[in-house]
């Protein structure tokens, strides 16, 4: 505790405390980490027949938990036509609320509840405008009790001031999935430590000393959730040597178990989690979008959603957008339903056909083209939600149009995020490649993108508190309308529309090769739709591919091409597939990069020999065993429990090997890494203790995969003679 009366700094952590109400950690401008306390009562609401509410009052008064009860009539349930009388239950100590509410819900299941299971940080955000790493000025008493709290910046600031975080990276010397780690490697700035895992006592003593000396803000681990921290905690208990993983004294860590669940039609596995108090723990291997946007993106996600950093790192962007809506609802005095019961208004099958159509796709015209502009509506669905005011309470009309009406909850939530993303995108577009802010801005922009991408899906998601299927359908309806208007505009300007895919158009007009050639049509589309649209780039050449099964059938969103600035865009090819071996993906990208040197579609055949030589080199490396085995790894997800496979997939066979050899049980949704091998069972699980015998690698299978990937490119570009079998390609790849 700090005797200072006024502090400024960054809000670092916030959680309920059984004694203090809430505990706040502030990274002070004085370089110190301040632990503060604040009274913060929590209110939830119940609705139902008056007699039952009176019974609830009696029950609550009989409980040892101190509460204040009141009648409330000002708040509004968005899904109800009028306001209803509510019982407001004010729980004085935040940490009492979850358990009290569980008791209430069990005893009075027939009542309707609101604001009952809202995350503490969102409640605090709604009252004080706080968010992780908010700049704050705090008045505090000598015992650290907060008497006033003022937030000095906003989550929507483009360049928020950021504190210097002390980061301690910790990881085992060997991936525990692949072998038995012998030591723990630690890094902090220029400091490096290597601590043997056995014997345990010196490990614990040394680690404790390092934690106390460095007092890190962030423990950044690899496998920390699922292996390292559980191991350290077990050892600490076994040897009765407390380990200060938390900064907050006297608290245990927060643990959540592993689980498999369904998401968007596939099984997803989520490992167990370990979270700390007064200090952050992020496990890179268990952080949802780490590979995409890393720490900068996690911090941005936490800032705009108000979720604690440790949660923001582990939760999906969907939970992020839902949290933003809940925070907005609390600010507006809109009730957050505990369980949404409002279902779809009945409609006829004919109405369903008209309304439930999803995004518009205009099949591509198969072929290779030059002078093609790729146009994108900027964040199309969020823009529609904001521009057309689509929200559960604004009752979407049959024909949605841009609206200037008072914005509903969803547009109000999205508008600042959308504005920030557009501003950041514009800034990035004008930023030179060497600018040090570029990587940070890109990570933040990516975090914002994922939130915006999921906000549309959340209108129709089963557990979304403010979802409504009619609103979801209204968004796609206007999306289709906007695309049709854009097509008409393009055709009026003399362009041929080669392809349209939900929010993008590919326009071709001979000679249209400069951004200025596309300016008039962009302006016209903006005028006709009311939605911002941008020129993604102009292709030197782009190839739209046919179906693998029937070369006369076009396939949406399967294309590749080279922009005028030399960058490449690929969709739907082997190099984009998650289960393609890295070697196959790289081989295919090398071919595309060779053709990317062509200035136009006409010049593509000039690069055929170079491409075939490249392919030949890759295939020779494979046959001579010079491709590292890691490059041949295939990663696939288990779609069910192992004993439920009637005809095990290669992934299932690899998981069975792991079970047989190591006893390690894999759950549905987990990913398995393996190599294709000759003979039975045809695979070698990568995480087996014994490395595979390189002579057993099924090179013929990898060769087939490579040729298939090469054929996608060469046939797609129409640079080979029209013989569609594998053999001619073999012929062309041999010198």
């Amino acid at each position: 505790m700090t005797p200072a009366s006024e502090l400024t700094g960054w809000l670092f952590d916030l959680y309920a405390d059984p004694q203090d109400g809430v505990t706040l950690w502030l990274l002070g401008d004085d370089g110190r980490r301040h632990r503060l306390r604040q009274a913060f009562p929590i209110t939830f609401y119940a609705a139902g027949p008056p007699a039952r509410l009176r019974e609830l009052c009696r029950f609550l008064k009989s409980q040892p938990v101190p509460v204040e009860l009141a009648r409330e009539e000002r708040r509004r349930d968005l899904f109800q036509p009028s306001r209803q009388p509510l019982l407001a239950v004010r729980v004085l100590l935040a940490s009492d609320q979850p358990r009290l509410f569980r008791q209430v819900a069990r005893r009075f299941p027939d009542l309707t509840y609101y604001d009952a299971d809202v995350h503490l940080s969102l409640r605090h955000a709604a009252v004080y405008g706080t968010f992780p790493l908010a700049r704050c000025r705090v008045q505090a008493g000598p015992d650290g009790t907060v008497t006033a709290l003022e937030v000095l910046d906003s989550p929507w600031d483009l360049d928020p001031p950021r504190p210097e975080l002390r980061i301690l990276e910790m990881e085992p010397d060997v991936d525990p999935a692949r072998g038995e780690p012998a030591a723990l490697e630690l890094r902090s700035g220029r400091l490096r430590y290597r601590l043997p895992l056995r014997p345990a006592r010196p490990l614990l003593v040394n680690l404790r000393a390092i934690l106390q000396r460095l007092d890190p803000d962030l423990l950044l681990t690899n496998r920390g959730d699922t292996w390292l921290l559980p191991l350290l905690l077990d050892l600490s208990e076994e040897h009765d040597l407390p380990l200060p993983l938390n900064r907050a004294p006297g608290r245990g860590v927060a643990r959540r178990g592993e689980r498999s669940y369904f998401s968007y039609g596939r099984i997803v596995y989520r490992g167990s989690q370990v979270m700390l108090f007064g200090r952050w723990h992020i496990d890179r291997a268990n952080a949802m979008m780490w590979n995409d946007y890393a720490l900068e993106g996690v911090l941005e996600s936490a800032r705009v959603t108000s979720l604690p950093v440790q949660e923001a790192a582990r939760l999906s962007p969907g939970t992020g957008i839902s949290s933003m809506q809940i925070r907005q609802a609390l600010v507006q005095g809109v009730l957050v339903p505990w369980r949404k019961q409002q279902s779809e208004q009945p409609k006829t099958a004919l109405q369903l056909i008209e309304s439930d159509q999803g995004g518009m796709v205009y099949q591509p015209l198969i072929g290779v083209y030059s002078s093609v502009g790729a146009l994108d509506f900027i964040s199309m669905y969020p823009s529609i939600m904001v521009r057309c005011n689509i929200s559960p309470e604004t009752v979407p009309l049959r024909h949605v149009e841009p609206s200037d009406a008072d914005p509903g909850l969803v547009p109000r939530t999205l508008a600042p995020l959308l504005e920030k993303r557009v501003a950041l995108k514009h800034r990035l577009a004008g930023m030179p490649g060497w600018d040090p802010r570029r990587a940070t801005d890109k990570a933040r922009s990516s975090a914002q993108k994922w939130l915006l991408v999921t906000c549309f899906g959340y209108l129709g998601y089963k557990n979304a508190r403010f979802g409504q299927i009619e609103a979801h359908e209204a968004v796609t309806a206007y999306g289709r309308e906007a695309l049709m208007r854009a097509k008409e505009a393009a055709e009026d300007h003399g362009f041929t529309v080669l392809h349209m895919y939900v929010d993008g158009l590919w326009l071709h007009r001979p000679g249209a090769s400069q951004p200025a050639d596309f300016e008039p049509v962009l302006m016209d589309i903006l005028e006709r739709t009311g939605l911002p649209v941008s020129l993604d780039g102009i292709y030197k050449w782009v190839a739209f591919l046919p179906s693998r099964v029937d070369e006369r059938t076009p396939v949406p969103n399967r294309y590749f091409g080279a922009f005028q600035d030399g960058s490449i865009k690929v969709r739907g090819l082997a190099c984009r597939r998650h289960d393609s071996p890295a070697w196959v993906g790289s081989l295919q990208m090398r071919l595309i990069e060779i053709f990317a040197k062509a200035g136009s579609a006409e010049e593509l055949p000039d690069y055929l020999n170079e491409a075939l030589n490249s392919l030949h080199r890759d295939l020779t490396a494979l046959s001579e065993g010079r491709v590292p085995l890691e490059e041949l790894l295939v990663t696939q997800r288990l779609s069910r429990a192992l004993d439920r496979y009637t005809s095990p997939s290669p992934a299932a066979r690899a998981a069975l090997q792991l079970r047989q050899v190591t006893g390690r049980e894999m759950r549905p949704g987990q990913k398995v890494r393996f190599l294709f091998t000759r003979g039975e069972p045809g695979v070698h699980a990568w995480d087996l203790p014994e490395p595979p015998d390189p002579r057993q690698i099924d090179r013929e299978r990898y060769r087939e995969l490579a040729l298939r990937a090469a054929r996608e490119v060469l046939e797609g570009l129409r640079v080979l003679p029209p013989e569609p079998t594998l053999l001619p390609l073999e012929k062309y790849t041999r010198r």
Partner: protein, 190 residues
């Protein structure tokens, strides 16, 4: 057995099959729609109007009229499904409930609560089936939620008749025995 017999009598008929007999239920909806109005409660996001329209077209040229005969609403949580069934008034029109248990298998809802909610759903289905035919489709739980088999047992116990698109022995097992792994009951392919 690929087709469902047309329900005529007021009764609660439960169809148990992998994928909750989606194709057969859609075909049934189409056949009924040609004859007159019906109500559809889609509890598993299974109702696809396009195959229904194609099936209707095989029976009649008056496709639009037939599609107008189908009034449907979709429920995406078990709370919504309960609310929808509570709101349905008894009627002589057929009522089809697609994949009733899908939302009750949701691992986010604790099993005791799912069972409790299903207990509230069954009397509504029973009341509706006194006035007109009610066909409910269901599937065994998937591997991730295999412990939720008692939900299926409860539904089968409340049915007037069960239409077995699953092998008879599996269905018998679902009626009698407590735990899925002991049964050898084929779980729904995920």
């Amino acid at each position: 057995m690929n087709e469902l017999a047309l329900p005529i009598e007021p009764q609660l008929l439960v169809v148990v099959a992998p994928h909750a007999a989606r194709d057969q239920m859609l075909e049934l909806a189409a056949t009924l729609a040609v004859r007159g109005p019906l109500r559809v409660v889609d509890a598993g996001n299974q109702f696809n109007a396009y195959p229904v329209a194609r099936a209707v077209r095989r029976h009649t040229a008056r496709m639009r009229a037939a599609l107008e005969n189908i009034r449907l609403a979709r429920g995406f949580t078990c709370y919504q499904v309960l609310a929808m069934l509570e709101q349905l008034q008894p009627s002589s029109q057929p009522t089809l409930v697609f994949d009733l248990l899908a939302t009750f298998y949701d691992e986010d809802v604790p099993l005791p609560q799912s069972l409790e909610l299903l207990d509230q759903v069954l009397p509504h289905l029973s009341a509706l089936s006194k006035a007109g035919p009610v066909v409910v489709s269901a599937r065994p739980p998937g591997t991730v939620v295999a412990e939720r088999l008692p939900l299926l047992q409860k539904l089968l116990d409340g049915a007037d008749a069960v239409y077995p698109l699953l092998p008879p022995e599996a269905l018998q097992a679902a009626r009698r025995l407590p735990a899925p792994r002991q049964l050898g009951l084929p779980l729904d392919p995920d």
